[in-house]
Symmetry: C2
Subunit: 103 residues, 2 copies
């Protein structure tokens, strides 16, 4: 997996708009996995103790797959539709230590 | 996936011991996936811009699988061997919004 690109997004959402936000994020994740061969996983969760705080753990085949992802219609729709809902956004790149899932 | 248990660990490690720490974490992740049917994924990464900051994104079949996990010999070995390396530890439960991976 040395070439794969790992990213983490930490996002804080306006509490008044959290349900609409989660629906838009879910739609974007599903479209990305279905339509983009280079999107290997997207795992979006809300913290139980701070449910307006979202974490998305992301894996792309490589840098080009990520650069493609952020130009897709479904990503741009999500970005535009949620821009007024996002209070804080922190995007981070990460290096894998051990990334394993059941087959 | 409604019943699955999602957790996120945010861990800051003593910079002088980061390589030993990463080796122990990798060993623990690999043993957990191999030996525990209820551990569905463990994804451990280091932040690129803060390489002593670790994130582990975890999914267990259910609460019982997690409770079993933290009593296994490989987990307890990791916990004891790394206890003096950990400067900060934040453990969080999370609710899934959309958790998808390529088949």
């Amino acid at each position: 997996m040395a070439e794969h690109l790992f990213r983490i997004a930490e996002i804080e959402i306006d509490p008044a708009q959290i349900e609409q936000y989660k629906a838009l994020l879910k739609e974007e994740v599903e479209a990305s996995l279905q339509l983009e061969p280079g999107v290997l996983f997207l795992q979006a969760v809300a913290l139980k103790d701070a449910p307006n705080n979202i974490r998305v753990f992301e894996c792309y085949a490589d840098e080009a797959a990520y650069q493609h992802h952020i130009t897709t219609p479904h990503f741009l729709k999500y970005k535009m539709a949620t821009s007024h809902m996002v209070k804080l956004l922190r995007l981070m790149e990460a290096n894998p230590i051990a990334v394993q899932a059941k087959a």
